[in-house]
């Protein structure tokens, strides 16, 4: 029995049931029943069309369950009017499932959980482990999400931007348990890119591939962070970089720039540089200018200050930084780095220590503490 085949078919089957009008939770129960039946029957009697088989069995289960519930007679009449077989060829069911899971009525956390469950086909236990919460907590989060979107029917396409945001959230979770969320996000974004022709979908896919390509070099064996300039570029995944750059170039050629394409362009410039010294910081600053125009995000302006510091020298970077609110996350870390480059090691050490106290991740805090300690040790000698 091929479990990965079942897992890859599940979202599509679920999507067909939901499109035919099944309530999300009931549809999922019916699909689970069908999967159990498949595990029982297929080894002796494999179907020719696995997905068709699952749709037929799941739909029958759904109808049985609905009929059994007398209080829901009205809905039974409704579903009986639906055509019983043959998915409508013009509709991409899985795409609708993406939109349903990223519905604006859901909180980001619920949208993420539901997407991983319904589109990704992950078990509740796998999702709970990836997010380090109890399985019961995640089960509640998912069932609330299902209730929230129950009754939502799609007669027009949803908002791609919302779906992209959900996938970006999944990718950005740094955890990896038995499920690697970054890999899972790439897999789902690939599926989406195959279904929807949108430059920002391509932009996000390129961005993920380019960042993922550098992943092995980003942390030392002890888990500590390795800054970009010190990474062993031989450990970057050149195939993923080439794929990301290709996807990005095709997207940029369509002249509909969005923030994911611009971010991917920055990542591509880093990935292209044979050494840190050869990084094209001037072009990176230009992309950050585009990003600032597109998003007006303070984080973008902070990153831009770093790029300006590399392109035009630390003094220019500090001048760009001076225009920003110093309560921004990582503001002190950036200031510390620019002062260090400028040769003011005492100020740099003080700011690294301050940045370490404000850091939100353990690896980042340790990294900044080490930098402060290194500068202080040098000052004492």
């Amino acid at each position: 029995m091929d479990e990965s085949l079942l897992r890859s078919l599940t979202p599509g089957v679920l999507a067909v049931l939901v499109r035919r009008g099944a309530d999300f939770a009931a549809a999922e129960d019916a699909v689970q029943d069908a999967l159990v039946e498949a595990v029982r029957v297929w080894p002796a009697d494999p179907p020719r069309d696995a997905k068709g088989w699952l749709v037929t069995v799941a739909w029958r289960r759904f109808l049985d369950a609905t009929r059994a519930d007398a209080a829901r007679r009205r809905r039974e009449d409704l579903v009986d009017e639906e055509p019983a077989s043959g998915p409508a060829p013009a509709v991409d069911d899985t795409l609708q499932l993406y939109f349903l899971c990223a519905h604006p009525s859901l909180t980001p956390a619920s949208a993420v959980a539901l997407t991983l469950r319904a589109v990704g086909g992950l078990t509740t236990r796998q999702i709970a482990r990836a997010y380090l919460v109890p399985e019961a907590t995640m089960a509640q989060r998912i069932s609330r999400a299902k209730r929230t979107v129950s009754g939502v029917r799609f007669d027009r396409p949803g908002d791609v931007a919302t779906v992209l945001r959900v996938l970006y959230l999944v990718f950005n979770e740094g955890y990896s348990g038995d499920v690697d969320l970054a890999t899972e996000a790439i897999r789902l974004t690939r599926q989406l890119a195959a279904r929807v022709d949108h430059p920002e979908v391509a932009g996000l896919l390129a961005l993920m591939l380019l960042h993922h390509a550098r992943r092995a070099a980003r942390t030392a064996p002890d888990g500590s962070l390795v800054p970009l300039a010190e990474q062993d570029r031989g450990r970057w995944d050149t195939r993923a970089i080439a794929e990301g750059v290709g996807i990005l170039q095709a997207a940029l050629a369509r002249d509909r720039l969005g923030e994911f394409q611009a971010q991917a362009a920055v990542a591509a410039l880093h990935a292209d540089a044979p050494t840190a010294e050869e990084t094209d910081w001037v072009q990176i600053v230009e992309w950050y200018d585009e990003l600032a125009r597109l998003t007006d995000s303070p984080v973008v302006r902070l990153n831009r200050a770093v790029a300006v510091g590399e392109a035009d020298g630390p003094r220019a970077g500090l001048a760009a930084l001076a225009a920003l609110d110093d309560s921004l996350p990582r503001h002190a870390a950036v200031a510390a780095y620019l002062h260090e480059r400028d040769g003011d090691l005492v100020t740099a050490a003080r700011l690294y220590a301050e940045a370490a106290r404000k850091a939100s991740s353990l690896a980042e805090r340790d990294h900044l503490t080490r930098r402060a300690a290194r500068l202080n040790a040098r000052g004492c000698r």
Binding site: P108, Q140, N172, E173, G174, R215, L362, A363
Partner: protein
């Protein structure tokens, strides 16, 4: 989502508004307090925001290494001078604002006279794993 630790103190926190020691409450008031805390946890399980929670015994000791071949040092019978944590709850919420909102609700648990205690709770974010994208 981000995880936060809500800390309840026996001692060490600023004084509560309705500051009457629990042993002076009526048994009904104690029960109402416990019920409130448990209802709160159940409700957070329902919203998918509950991670874990435990109560701690008031007895605790400072312990310290005292050199090779010697038993660890403990701080002796003077425990009443130090901060003490009564219990904690870990929540996993969408925002810092939500964490503060929930801590505020927990602080409204009823105490003496059936009135909210208005006790101070400490809210501390967990350090996370680094996000996939930082550069």
């Amino acid at each position: 989502m981000a995880k936060y630790l809500l800390l309840k103190h026996y001692r060490g926190a600023p004084a509560a508004v309705n500051d009457v020691p629990m042993d002076r409450w009526t048994p009904e008031e104690v029960s109402a307090h416990m019920q409130y805390m448990s209802d709160f946890a159940v409700r957070l399980e329902g919203t998918g925001e509950f991670v874990d929670g435990q109560a701690l015994a008031p007895e605790g000791a400072w312990v310290r290494y005292d050199g090779e071949g010697r038993p660890p040092v403990t701080d002796g019978p003077f425990a009443e001078t130090k901060d003490l944590i009564a219990g904690w709850m870990v929540i996993d919420v969408d925002s810092y604002e939500r964490a503060v909102e929930l801590a505020g609700e927990l602080s409204a648990a009823p105490g003496a006279g059936g009135k909210p205690i208005h006790e101070w709770l400490e809210v501390r974010p967990f350090l996370t794993a680094p996000p996939t994208i930082t550069e």
